[in-house]
């Protein structure tokens, strides 16, 4: 519980130690010398609710704040059962992400192609209106004190970051101190966004993974929105095509499903999955000749480079279509 009360002091001590040991905060330096032009100077997301944490339970508290901001009606208490590990007196990152999904939001771990841009990306997301959960190690590498907090704002000229942290509704610490504590937790951060909202700094692989993981937790209608957002940004992504086509299929909109899956086969002529799902969609519309041709192609592709599951399913699709043709 000392985390909250001593956060400032620990951070201060840490700062001193780091100065003495010659460690650097390169990202803070970079922001000071060349602040990104498109980043507003001051941001504070005052609407983000605040839940002071109970003993050890900064995970559920931090998570509840960002989930509320994303539109999910949850309280820290309701999240304890989803993320808290009594034996560890803490919460694992993977379960923080999983809980975001269980509550219907896209759980996006903040990543960047260049790690030296982590801080800039974090501020970019906050500037876009999204509070961000961060994992910090408030102490030292060999004596870790792990802590989740929520970044709700920053002040570029003053080089300060604004957090909801522990018992403090508005904890302001220097960028450099924050960078030390965050660096020690490998710059881990997560966003929780409503369906269709794209992180400002989204990377293709991370977004798609997050979207697929979310799929089963939200309605097909919302999945349509999630995958459409992906295709808008990455028009060639096969997973997004399949996800969108399947979502339309589940909704019973076979025409839209067909349209999307056909595009998928054109953009990815080597995808057995695209051909298989197109074949199934056509067969459902009783267009067996076209379906047969797509299913045959799916089987052929699966044989050469597909997984055993793909081989099995494509064969079954083809068999069923053949049966119906007679």
């Amino acid at each position: 519980m000392s985390v909250n009360k001593n956060a400032r002091m620990q951070a201060g001590v840490l700062f001193l130690i780091m100065l003495l040991s010659g460690c650097a905060t390169p990202q803070t330096q970079q922001l000071r010398h060349t602040p990104p032009k498109d980043l507003p100077a001051h941001v504070e997301l005052t609407d983000v609710p605040f839940y002071p944490q109970n003993t050890h339970q900064c995970g559920p508290a931090a998570l509840a704040m960002v989930l509320n901001a994303g539109g999910a009606q949850v309280t820290p208490d309701s999240l304890i059962k989803q993320v808290y590990l009594p034996g560890r007196e803490g919460s694992l990152q993977v379960e923080m992400l999983a809980s975001g999904r269980r509550n219907g939001l896209l759980a996006y771990p903040l990543t960047s192609s260049r790690q030296d841009l982590s801080l800039q990306n974090l501020l970019t997301e906050v500037a876009a209106g999204t509070p961000v959960v961060v994992l910090q190690n408030l102490a030292l590498r060999w004596y870790p004190v792990w802590h989740y907090a929520v970044v709700i704002g920053y002040d570029l000229p003053r080089q300060e970051i604004i957090l909801r942290s522990g018992l403090e509704q508005r904890l302001i610490i220097p960028f450099a101190t924050f960078e030390y504590t965050w660096q020690r937790a490998a710059y881990w951060a997560m966003l929780a966004l409503p369906a269709g909202v794209m992180p400002r700094t989204a990377t293709e692989e991370t977004y798609i993974k997050a979207a697929v993981a979310l799929e089963k937790n939200i309605t097909p209608k919302k999945n349509v929105v999630v995958y459409q957002a992906a295709l808008k940004k990455w028009p060639n992504n096969l997973t997004a095509y399949i996800g969108l086509g399947n979502a339309f299929y589940t909704l019973g909109d076979k025409e839209q499903a067909e349209k999307v899956l056909r595009q998928a086969t054109l953009a990815h002529p080597d995808s057995a999955i695209a051909f298989n799902n197109l074949a199934q969609t056509l067969a459902d519309q009783k267009r067996y000749t076209e379906a047969f041709s797509a299913a045959t192609q799916a089987v052929r592709l699966a044989e050469t480079k597909g997984s055993s599951e793909e081989q099995g399913v494509t064969q079954i699709t083809l068999n069923e279509i053949q049966e119906k043709m007679h």
Partner: protein
């Protein structure tokens, strides 16, 4: 739904069984999911069905309950993880930070136990002994 298609392979059966406990996951005739697009042939397919079965084992149930985690909760939490996440956790659980003021390597219940046990990193009983050690401060 065409029932003939559901029981093609054990994997599909397993997925469809899993889906019973999940909202809105439909079992589609022979549509392949978007999650299968990126799976490479070499990627380990984590067998959740085994994990879920493990939770129901008497000794593990007892260990979980001792830590205040009921069985349904444990099932739901394993279900909520992606294969990737399960693997991330499995390899190095004892080193993972758990935000909330935790020190060092403190072995724990639940996923740790489930995942490491299933992958053969640990056995349940050594583990359950481990949690009775006083936490190092």
């Amino acid at each position: 739904m065409n029932k003939r298609f559901v029981c093609i392979t054990g994997r599909i059966l397993m997925l469809s069984m899993l889906s019973l406990s999940l909202p809105l996951q439909s079992v589609q005739a022979a549509m392949i999911g978007a999650d299968k697009v990126t799976i490479s042939a070499t990627q380990v397919q984590f067998d959740r069905a085994r994990v879920q079965a493990l939770i129901d084992r008497e000794d593990i149930r007892a260990a979980l309950q001792k830590e205040g985690i009921d069985i349904q909760t444990a099932h739901a939490r394993v279900n909520a993880l992606t294969d990737d996440e399960v693997q991330q956790v499995a390899g190095k659980l004892d080193q993972l930070p758990a935000g909330g003021e935790v020190l060092g390597i403190l072995l724990t219940v639940f996923i740790v136990l489930l995942v490491t046990d299933i992958l053969g990193f640990t056995k349940v009983f050594p583990f359950t002994r481990a949690i009775t050690h006083p936490a190092r401060r």
